[in-house]
């Protein structure tokens, strides 16, 4: 969906060429900006809330952001290929629902988890097929599966709430890893993030993803199997979202069909705030990790200060907007200045002629 969702009436090539400086530099710029925001948040937090510097916060933030963060990783890759997956949160709910339904039906929790992951795989494959085989716009497809997955979850589980999962597992929601303040979901996220980082930034696969995002046709002409690539990314997204659903279920020691409703927009917001371009091609894992941390800290401190959640929404939305306006804003300025210069030139020429 590269430029499709925008008014970017494509710049006349000359402007375009001028606009496109090295994407790497742009990224660096954006990530350093995120670091500053993070530092600001930390200072603000420790200054305003005397509970903010407690180590337990590391645990809590991990607990609160874990699933969102994990789902953000595959979504980031998908967005870099210039597609999108809005069904992430529904898939998370569906996997949880399946897990719960099977568990309450007497299955072993492990078997149930296995099936949940398979469901994720199937769901992702459905998205992938519709996008790559039928060439449907992923935004429309995943809005459809967003409803479909949630609906199936409802059929599977509603109106029940399943509980009674083995304490050994549900503990991941209550106690950090032995002798640390790190939540299990945090650890898992970090591991996945490292893998994602290596793949995206240091392997042919990563190059393929980036190239596909910037210019799918050129990628195809370079022997990159664009469709296959996208398909597997959607599958990956399905599986990891299912995995997030399992974590979410265990964390809460219970599950109902509506677990995680509406999270999709948060996940998208996290990714975009991480500096990933909705047009595809541009984005880095570090950026997304930073964005997760910033948002996590921000929410934590605002909650501690008992700031109304409405205001928290405004803050998040505002940050998101700024994060995209700043990079584009300088471009807008450049254009406006250029126009001004032109008209002034013209007046001079008039004077001459």
């Amino acid at each position: 969906m590269t430029s499709d969702m925008t008014t970017r009436t494509p710049l006349p090539p000359d402007a375009a060429t001028a606009e496109k400086r090295s994407p790497l530099r742009a990224l660096v710029r954006w990530e350093s900006a995120l670091v500053l925001v993070l530092i600001a948040t930390l200072i603000f937090g420790s200054a305003t809330s005397d509970h903010f510097l407690q180590v337990t916060n590391v645990f809590y933030i991990g607990l609160n952001m874990g699933e969102i963060a994990i789902m953000a990783l595959p979504l980031m890759l998908i967005i870099i290929t210039a597609e999108i997956d809005l069904s992430v949160a529904s898939m998370m709910g569906l996997s949880g629902a399946v897990l719960g339904a099977l568990f309450s039906a007497g299955w072993s929790v492990w078997a149930a988890m296995g099936v949940a992951l398979l469901v994720g795989l199937a769901g992702g494959a459905l998205n992938g097929l519709l996008v790559t085989r039928l060439k449907l716009p992923s935004i429309a497809v995943t809005i459809g599966t967003l409803a479909l997955f949630r609906g199936i979850a409802e059929i599977v589980l509603a109106p029940r709430t399943v509980t009674g999962f083995p304490l050994s597992l549900t503990n991941i929601g209550a106690v950090p890893i032995q002798g640390t303040e790190i939540a299990w979901s945090t650890l898992i996220f970090l591991v996945l993030a490292v893998i994602a980082g290596v793949v995206l930034h240091a392997t042919p696969l990563g190059r393929a993803i980036v190239a596909t995002g910037w210019q799918p046709e050129a990628a195809q002409f370079s022997g990159i199997r664009v469709n296959r690539l996208k398909f597997w990314l959607f599958v990956l997204s399905g599986v990891l979202c299912a995995f997030a659903g399992i974590l979410f279920t265990l964390k809460n020691a219970s599950v109902s069909y509506d677990a995680g409703t509406g999270l999709e927009l948060n996940v998208v917001a996290i990714v975009l705030f991480g500096g990933v371009s909705i047009f595809g091609g541009k984005g880095s894992v570090i950026g997304v990790v930073l964005s997760v941390v910033v948002v996590g800290c921000l929410q934590q401190v605002l909650t501690q200060l008992n700031v109304a959640p409405e205001i928290q929404n405004i803050v998040i939305g505002g940050l998101l907007l700024i994060s995209v306006i700043i990079p584009n804003g300088r471009e807008a300025l450049r254009r406006i200045r250029a126009r001004a210069r032109r008209s002034s030139n013209s007046t001079q020429r008039k004077a001459l002629g």
Partner: protein, 330 residues
Amino acid sequence: PSNNSAGDSTTAPTAHSIKKGLLVYFIPKDTQNPYEVIADQGGQKAVQETGGKAVVSSGTQDTAAAQIPSIQAAIQAHADAIVIAGNDPSALCPSLNQAAQAGIKIVSFDSDISCGSAPNHLFINQANTEQIGTSEVDLLAKEIGSKGKIAILSAAASATNQNAWIGYMKQELKKYPNMQLVSTVYGNDDPATSLTVLQGLLSANPDLAGIISPTTVGISTAAQYLDTHKDLLSHLTLTGLGLPSQMKSYVQDGTVKQFELWDPGKLGYLAGYAAAGLASGSASLQTGSKFAAGTLGSFTVLAPASGTGPSVVLGPPTVFDASNVGNYNF
């Protein structure tokens, strides 16, 4: 004036046994639910009477996930007690358990949490669950002459309190062989959804005789629809749980004859005192133990029953009709 028979409000044990400067966190389903807002105001009133400080904290969506950060905040603020209306019976248990281990007393109200013994907590029951279920069926039966098709317009399919009440309604219905429950629909406490399912319900069952909507959003949506389709009133009766402030106009113009509710303000007030009492040791979870709840008099802790742990009951719900609906401000 719903009051616990056990107590005598004039000479209720006073609050002197309660510590000053307690910090009590109220965690409603969400910060916007009108019913919860009223309840929390009651709670804050109570805590202030005991010379303590009350904080209301929650998310914008009524999901467990949105409440957990508030619990964490309470722990970190070293609160003395948490009064929570669970969005999910058990999703909150792990976090609340952490709170309990941090020495925070847990009180639940409006919608109970079922965490077994971990953590132990006191449930402030707005009214005996069974009583609510049965009384609503009885109310409706009286109005429709105990016969005809009826339906239930509930909130979310996963709402514990709703499902508990609906369970008792079905039991009670066995007493009325000529009334059959044709379907239960879920409006998710969202006016638009409630309206859609209601309309579907009516077009599917034009001869519907009665609707029970045990949720404030559902009943007011249904009432508005009946109010605007008076022809239906000839054969269709609506009752359930509603806020007098929302229902006043419908009762006064006869769209709705009767509906029930307790005073959410008092519910919060009672919860506030219970929390303060537990935190100061002047109240306990022992069956039969009493504690004072300010102007409400004193209350007795009931034995754990099926599903629920130790609990106190605010009292029988008030039945509102044209005669009294005007006297309430919630």
